[in-house]
């Protein structure tokens, strides 16, 4: 890496703030004329010369107005960011094959136009830019960050910049929020080892829950194929309708998933992640059995999915 590439990165490191809450102000905002600002100044100069040599004050007035607006924009562009407060929020687990939505809270006392937020990555991959026109008050936002691998990761440096109101100056600040994102493996279709309960117990895992217990866990509307032994007679007797009992043991009786043994481990985790994601979002009951001994009993729902993805994300390499 040459000096020309190292210098901006070193500057960014030096200028970044690492607080959990960042208030943009004079000490952490930087401003330079934009390329359009340079053109603007050149255009104003040309108009001034035209006015002076054409003995006409019309172009002179316009060029001085352009100069006055340039000076004014130096402050207005800075004020557009100054005073803005940024706070990091807790995010959800996401997969490595899609941009993670990093939740932030922006607190502003006034309208702020044309705010642009983008994560800067050390490997230089292009991150999606978010353009905002911020109303006063508290505004939760999420800035997309493209992870490169699974694991617990920090998105790095956030660049917040603006050229509003007229694009003549570029004002920016850096922030390294102390957010740890959980990134599950990318979702790649492929083989996954599927285990039934018997196979799983043979594998030595410990299962919780009492199969065949009389203590049901929940009631749900009775389906005709479930038979009379599942009917919750007490609710029928109370005249509350026909409900069927659902037992914990029954819930645990879903499919267990494990990485395919003949596939390279990281790729196997990606296949597993894909199977898990598609199955759980389709309403299947799935459990997870991982090489480090982690076992998550079959279940369904967003919380279960989150738990499984976190387990996959934090697997040792």
């Amino acid at each position: 890496m040459g000096f020309a590439e190292r210098l901006p990165k070193a500057l960014q490191r030096r200028l970044s703030r690492r607080e959990a809450v960042l208030q943009l102000g004079l000490r952490n905002l930087y401003i330079v004329p934009s390329s359009f600002g340079g053109l603007w100044l050149l255009g104003g100069g040309v108009l001034y010369l035209v006015g002076i040599n054409g003995r006409s004050n019309g172009p002179v007035l316009l060029s001085l107005l352009m100069l006055a607006l340039l000076l004014l924009n130096l402050f207005l562009t800075h004020l557009n960011l100054q005073g803005l407060e940024l706070r990091a929020l807790q995010g959800h687990t996401s997969c490595a094959d899609e941009p993670a939505a990093v939740p932030l809270l922006l607190i502003s006392s006034s309208h702020r136009a044309g705010l642009k937020l983008r994560w800067l990555t050390p490997h230089g991959s292009l991150q999606q830019q978010l353009l905002l026109h911020l109303p006063p008050g508290h505004t939760p936002i999420s800035v997309a960050w493209q992870p490169s691998q699974r694991g617990r990761q920090r998105p790095g440096r956030l660049l917040i910049h603006s050229t509003a109101p007229m694009g003549l100056f570029r004002c920016w600040g850096y922030w390294e929020p102390p957010i740890d994102l959980t990134i599950a493996p990318a979702r790649t279709p492929g083989p996954v080892q599927e285990l039934r309960r018997a196979e799983h117990t043979q594998a030595g895992a410990v299962l919780s829950g009492g199969a065949g217990s009389d203590h049901f866990d929940e009631l749900r509307p009775l389906r005709p194929e479930e038979g009379l032994q599942r009917v919750a007679w007490k609710t029928v007797a109370r005249g509350q309708g026909w409900y069927g009992k659902r037992f914990e043991a029954e819930q645990a009786a879903g499919l267990w998933l494990s990485p395919a043994s003949h596939v390279e481990p990281e790729l196997a985790y990606e296949h597993l992640c894909r199977r898990l994601w598609s199955g759980l979002t389709a309403g299947e009951s799935l459990g997870l059995l991982l090489p480090d001994g982690t076992a998550i009993a079959p279940g369904s729902g967003p919380k279960h999915l989150e738990r499984c993805l976190q387990a996959l994300a934090t697997l040792p390499r």
Partner: protein
Amino acid sequence: MNGAPLLQLISLALLWLQLLLQGQLQPLVALALPGLLALRLRRSTLQRPLLLALTLGSLVLWALGASLGDRTALLQSACNLLWLLCGLKLLEARSHNEQRRCSLLLLLSVGLAGVAGQQLAASLLQGLCALLALASLLALEGGPRPLGQVLRRSGVLVAVALPVLLAAFVLLPRLEPLWSLQLGNSGRSGLSDRLAPGELASLVSDNSLAARISFAADQPPPAAERYWRVLVHQRFDGNSWSAARTEPPRLQLPGPPPSAPVQQRWMVEPSGLRQRPWGGSGMPMTPSLQPSVLGTISGAAPLQERSLYTLQRDPMAEVWRRLPPDAADLQLPPAANPRLLRLGQQWQQQGASAEAKVLLARQWFLQQGFRYTLEPGSLGPIDPLDRFLFETRAGFCEHFAASFSALMRAAGVPARVVVGYQGGAWQQPAGGSPYLELRNSDAHAWSEVYLAGRGWVRVDPTAWVVPERIRRSLADSLSEADRQRLSPEPPSWVRAAVNQWQGLDYRWQLWVMGFDRQRQRELLGESRWQGLIAISVMAAALALGLLPLLRQQEPGDPMRRRLNRLLRRLEARGYPLQSGETLTSYCERVGRCQSELAGPLQTLALHYTTWRFAPAGQERDQQRALSSSLKVLLGLTSRVRGRKPTA
């Protein structure tokens, strides 16, 4: 279409209109721009090759037009090219950056239009175009907003920048022109360096503005003294009078001290002449304008654009009147106009003085029954002055001046013809300084004779024949038939409105367009600290403009800040907000102690709550209601005296 492209489109359309009215557009550009605007309005997305072909085609046509046209108007062609390119850029611009550059190109186009059109109306249109171009930049950066809001914001931004602009305009030291750049239409006053009988009579139907003069004491000279000389004709070929072939030598005068009082301020429309009108006295403050030995002042180049100059009081400037005549002032073709020659020689043989010969001539003119008319008829190419003096006896001012000067020369009195303006209308615009307005229809010719001991003296034979021409106006001195040839007078209210507008325009020209280095020196004097003062004042103006914007950055919304102000005011009067107290209960508590505030406080509590929880889209109405109740209470609390609450 919305936002920035629409604003750019309207801006360019207005610019096109202004340039069209000014006659600045070449036919191709005048036709092409509306076409390009229409294409943009229809959101036609031209393919790049087609756009390129359109651009190249336009450039070729423009180059063809420029090469076939007047070479001296090359600069104007270049401006037309820029305006055309602006239209093409508008059609091409799609991305954010391209649209920004399009706005900048629009501003440059407006600036160039400002060189050509400096009248108030043109300047207002140009200002509007520039405002729309600025608004388009705000629309680009500020996200989706209603156009009205964008325009309001750009108006506020310009208003904030205005003090800085004014400080820079007035105080920043002006540069002298580095080269000459002329875009204006080359005007023609109708006056020329050759005066043939009948030439000035054709000018009376031209009612266009020639010059405007303001006087130090806001008082014009008496009507009989309003003679404004432009050209002096010394040569007579028997048929017409003309100026000398060579430029008359300039008077080398030291010039008045800078502190000498200003006598007159002239604003002259483009005439195409090097000579500038003046009253024959006063010294021009512009160094390039100097009186000549003939009593004319002329600039370095023909006047192609509106010009402003100031005359300072200086008795030395009238030295040209005392310069003795030379042989050219007595030159007369020996064979032309024999009857005129005989009459002049007859007066010479009487052995009278020059003054007596002038009196003889006056008597003769009054006795011959001359008629003043705009249609004297053709005098023919041979001995025209003889025909006028002894046959037709009907003529306009140039007939009288030309024949009287020739008669004086024949009588041995040095004489010459002066062409310029006579009279003028005294305009008093509401709230502004009055000025004398000269129109091309005020063009006039008179004579000057050299009298020993007195120098060059003005003699106006037209005034002998028709005194009303000088005392009142041209229209009053003409017959009913001749009056028909004059421009029809508009209704009085139209005339009054036009006069007011022209008064505004005059002030605009005088104080804004005419504010040059010389005016800056007049206003500020010579100071070596001028640059520093300019920068300091600009910085102060910038700070002043930014102050309200900085206040907006204070925490809390504006309504909350106003509420806090009210609460502080009530606290100072002994009603502090207690811990955990809601606004509603606080208002009730204070209302119980201050009965005159009870109603407004109750309304405030209601409005504040309603505004805070207003559904989307209704915030503005609720905010307005809250604002008015806050205003009422802030007004009341400024008057209510503090009263301790009862326990």
